[in-house]
Amino acid sequence: MQKYREIAEKVMTGSEADFAEIRLLRTARTTVTQAGLSSMNTGPIEQFTGTARVMISGRWAMYEFSTPDEMSKAMDMAAALAIQSKSSPVIFPILPPACRDTFIDMEDGVPLSNVPLREKAFLCRHYCDLLGASISKGSARVTYDEIIRDKVIVNSTGTSIREIENLGSMNIQAVLPGGLISSNEFALRGSFDRFKDKERQITQIGKELQSRKTTTISAPGKKRVILDPILTGILVHEAFGHLVEADFLENNPAIAKMLRIGSRVGSDCVSIVDDSQLTEHPGSLHWDDEGTPGSKTQLVSSGKISSWLHTMSTAAKYKTNPTGNARISDRGGIPEARMTCTYMEQGTTPLEKLKIHLDNGLYMKGFLGGATDMDRFSIAVEEVWTVKNGVIHEPVVPMVISGKVTDILKSVLNTGDDLKLSGSLFGCSRFGSKTIPVTYGGPHILISEIQVN
C-alpha cells in the first residue's frame, strides 16, 4: 500500500478541485466456524478498493476504482461528475490541519494477521469442545472473524495518512433444547494472544446457561431494573448514539432542535462519551475515513447534550470542528458521522449497593437482539432474574425492554463503579449502510421504571 500511497500523493498534486481526496482500502477477512464436530472456514477474502472524491463549486462527486493504476482517471471522472452535477451547492467542509503519519497495530503479542489459520481453527475447536462439554444437551458453536484493514487517505490539504488495523472477534454460542440461548462475543483490536486462556470463561458460559433453565414468567409492565454493562452499552449506542450523528440531524432539523446542545436528555448521573482513542478496542481509529484525527467527544455531560458527532461537512454546517467520526461503511461510500467507542461513564456505587436500591425489581443481563425506531427502542434481554430485598432470587424467561430513550435516560437513578466495554466487528448498522466495527459499554445502571414485556 505504501507505493500506492505515493502514487496517490502524486496524483493529488495535479488536482484543480476546491478539495480532493483519494481513499485506498485493502481488507482481508477470514472466518472460521466450529459447530459441534463440523468445521468450516472462509478466506482470507482480500479486497482492494479506491475512491476519488472531489468538491468543485460546492458540489461533491465520487468515483470508485478497483486497481491503483486507475487513480488518475478516477480523479478526472469524479471532477467531471461534480462539474456536471445539478445539485444545490453545499457549504465548504472544515478541513483539519494537514497530517503525514502512519500507525500500525503493534502490541507485545502477535498481530492477528501473523497467526496461521490452523492456530485459529484449533482454538475454535478447543473452545467449542469445552463449551459442548459444559452443557449436558444442546449445541455449541464458536465463530472466529478477523478483518485486517489497511487504509490510506491522501487529500489536497497535504494530508497523507496510513493506518493498519487488526480486528478480531470470537462469538461463543450455546443453545439448549427448547431454544434457550447464550451468545457471548469477545472483540478486540491488536493481538491474537488476547483470545487465548478463555477456558474458565467458556466453561462458565455453559454452566450459567444450564442454571438459567426456567419456565417462570414475570408479568409484563413497568418495572424497576438494573441493566448490566452490556445492556447499558447497547442502550447508549443504539437508542441514543445514533440520534446525535450530525448527518442524521442535518437531514432532520426538527429533531436537531429537540437535541440541541444544552438540552436535557438524561438524569444528572448520565454522562456519555465517544472515544475513538481506545486503541485496543475494535471501534477505535487513529484517523477517521476523512483523515481527521480520532478524539474523545463528550456527548452528554450530567444529563445535558454537550456535542454531536461530526464529519468535515457537518462540522462546517454547524460551525464547529470535525470530531473524527467520519466513517465509511461500504466501498465507494460517502463518509457518515458514526460512533466509534461509545459508553456511559461510570459512577461510584458498587453493584451490591445498586441491588439494595433495586429492592424487588429485575436484574437484566446480556443482549439477544434489538433495534431502534428513531428515539424508541426495544431490546431482547438474554437473562432476567428477579431480585427480592436486594438479593438475586430466581431466573425468569427472557424478556424485551422498550421505551423512549430520553425517558429512560432521565429515569437512571444511579450508575455503578464498574465500567466495562464490549464490541463487535459488525456491531453497528444504519438503514442503507453496511455494518462497521464499534465498541460500546457502561457500568451497571439502576433505572426507576422501564417497560418490560
Partner: protein
C-alpha cells in the same frame, strides 16, 4: 473472448497441478449512483471486479476470493490452505456449459444522474405536499453486472444483468416521538414505480396521534409486504437442502403434505422478468428454473446445490448461491407469493379489526431453523372496521412461522416489490401480541 473469460482461464491454469478439480467465479460491476438527502445530492460512479476460486484437493473443498487487485497465484495458495479445513468433496463440477441466449434489456442505458435526480426531486415534492416536515433520504444505484463461471471440466458460462437498487428513508417528528420508515427494492429495467414507493414508505407514517393501549393475547395481524418478507425468512431457510441434511428442517418428510394455508402459493422464480435475483444459471453454472415451493399450501420440495444434492442422492435444483470466496449453499432467489384473485386491495377493510404491522425492527430471539419467532415491531397501528384508530408502541409478536402461515385469513390482491421479492399484504389470525 471476453476479458473476464481470459482472466478466469488464467486462474484455472494456475490450479492445474495443485488440484483435482477447480472452479472460478467472477463478478464485474459497473455502476452509477446518487445519494440524495434534504441537504445534498452526490453523484458517484465506479466499477468493482472480483474473483472467487473453489478447488478440490486431497478430497476436500477449499474456497477463497479477491476483489480489486487480483493475484492468481496468491488466490490459489489461499485456496489450498482453505482445503485443509474444508468439507469433503462429494461431487464433481459439471462438464457442460449451460445453454443460454443472452437478451440484454438496454433500457437501463437511458437512466442518467440527471433523470434520477429529477425522479427523486419529484418524489420529494409529492411527499412534502403530504406533510411539510417529512424528510426524505434516498440512494439509487444502477448499472450492469457481469457474472462468469468456469471450471476445469470445461464449463464456461457468462451472463450480464442490469440492476437498479433503491432505498428510501423517511422521517417525521411527531408529538408522540419520531417516526421513521424505510423501503428497499431492486429492479432491473426501470426506476421504481413512484406510486408504489409512496404507498410503502408512507404506510408506517400514519399521523394518528392516539395511543391505544392494547391487551396482550391472540389478535388478527395484517403484515405489510415489508413485514411479510421478514416473516418469510424462516421459510427461505426451511426449504434449503442444507437444513434437511443437518436434520433440523421443520419441513423434513413434509413433501406432498399440507403445511401452510390453502390460500398460499409461494414460488422461487430465478427466471422472473425484472427480478433482481434472476439468473439463467446458478453460482455453480447449473441452469436455473422457476419452482413452486408451496402449491396452495402443499410443500413441493427442497432446494439443492451440487453438494446438498450429492449428499441426498438427488439432483441440483440450480439453487446454488454464495458470496465471492465463500462455500456454496442452496438459496432462494426472487420469492413471490401469489396475490388473491378474489380479494380486494384493501386488506384492512377485509380483515375488519386488528393490528397493522408495517415493519419489524428486530427478530432477535427468533429461530429461523425451527420457525419460532419473536418480532419487536416498534410502533404498530390498531384498526377497527378497516380504519386506523391509533398506534401502539413496543409491540412484540411471537409464535411459529409455519403455524402463522397456516392461519391466513386475507391475502391482498396486489403484489409489491420488497428487495427482489413480490409480496402482497397478508392478514393472519390469532397471532400472539404483547
Amino acid at each position: 473472448m471476453h476479458k473476464e473469460l481470459i482472466t478466469g482461464a488464467e486462474i484455472l491454469v494456475a490450479c492445474e497441478k495443485v488440484s483435482t478439480e477447480a472452479e472460478v467465479t467472477g463478478i464485474n460491476k459497473y455502476y452509477k449512483s446518487i445519494e440524495f438527502n434534504p441537504v445534498s445530492c452526490t453523484p458517484s460512479a465506479g466499477y468493482r471486479t472480483g474473483w472467487g476460486l473453489r478447488m478440490v484437493r486431497s478430497g476436500k473443498i477449499g474456497v477463497s476470493g479477491e476483489w480489486g487487485l487480483i493475484d492468481r497465484f496468491r488466490l490459489v495458495e489461499k485456496t489450498i490452505s482453505s482445503c485443509r479445513f474444508g468439507p469433503k468433496a462429494l461431487f464433481s463440477f459439471p462438464d457442460y456449459s449451460p445453454d443460454y441466449q443472452e437478451h440484454i434489456n438496454k433500457s437501463i442505458d437511458s437512466i442518467t444522474h440527471d433523470s434520477v435526480n429529477d425522479y427523486l426531486n419529484e418524489l420529494q415534492e409529492k411527499i412534502k405536499q403530504i406533510h411539510p416536515l417529512f424528510s426524505l433520504s434516498a440512494g439509487i444505484q444502477w448499472g450492469t453486472d457481469s457474472f462468469v463461471v468456469m471450471n476445469s471440466n470445461g464449463m464456461n458460462a457468462r451472463f450480464l444483468k442490469p440492476i437498479i437498487s433503491s432505498r428510501f428513508s423517511l422521517t417525521l417528528p411527531g408529538n408522540s416521538g419520531l417516526l421513521q420508515s424505510g423501503y428497499s427494492l431492486s429492479t432491473t429495467t426501470s426506476l421504481p414505480v413512484m406510486e408504489d414507493v409512496l404507498e410503502m414508505i408512507l404506510l408506517p407514517m400514519n399521523s394518528v396521534e392516539q395511543n391505544i393501549l392494547t391487551a396482550s393475547g391472540g389478535k388478527d395481524v395484517v403484515f405489510s409486504p415489508v413485514a411479510f418478507s421478514v416473516l418469510l425468512q424462516a421459510v427461505r431457510a426451511g426449504v434449503s437442502g442444507n437444513l434437511l441434511i443437518e436434520g433440523s428442517s421443520p419441513l423434513a418428510h413434509m413433501e406432498g403434505k399440507q403445511v401452510l394455508s390453502k390460500s398460499l402459493t409461494i414460488r422461487d422464480l430465478p427466471r422472473l422478468s425484472n427480478g433482481a435475483s434472476s439468473a439463467p444459471f446458478d453460482s455453480e453454472g447449473i441452469p436455473t428454473s422457476d419452482k413452486t415451493l408451496f402449491e396452495n399450501g402443499v410443500f413441493t420440495g427442497f432446494l439443492h446445490d451440487l453438494n446438498s444434492a450429492a449428499q441426498l442422492e438427488t439432483e441440483s435444483t440450480g439453487s446454488s448461491g454464495r458470496n465471492l470466496g465463500e462455500h456454496s449453499k442452496p438459496v432462494c432467489t426472487n420469492i413471490t407469493v401469489d396475490p388473491s384473485i378474489i380479494g380486494s386491495s384493501n386488506t384492512l377493510a377485509e380483515t375488519g379489526s386488528g393490528i397493522l404491522v408495517t415493519s419489524i425492527l428486530s427478530a432477535g430471539g427468533s429461530n429461523a431453523v425451527s420457525g419460532s419467532f419473536t418480532f419487536d415491531c416498534g410502533r404498530v397501528y390498531v384498526f377497527r372496521r378497516g380504519e386506523i384508530q391509533g398506534y401502539y408502541d413496543g409491540c412484540v409478536l411471537s409464535g411459529n412461522v409455519y403455524d402463522a402461515l397456516s392461519n391466513i385469513s386475507v391475502l391482498g390482491s396486489k403484489q409489491f416489490r420488497v428487495k427482489s421479492d413480490l409480496l402482497p399484504f397478508v392478514s393472519i389470525s390469532n397471532i400472539s401480541v404483547r
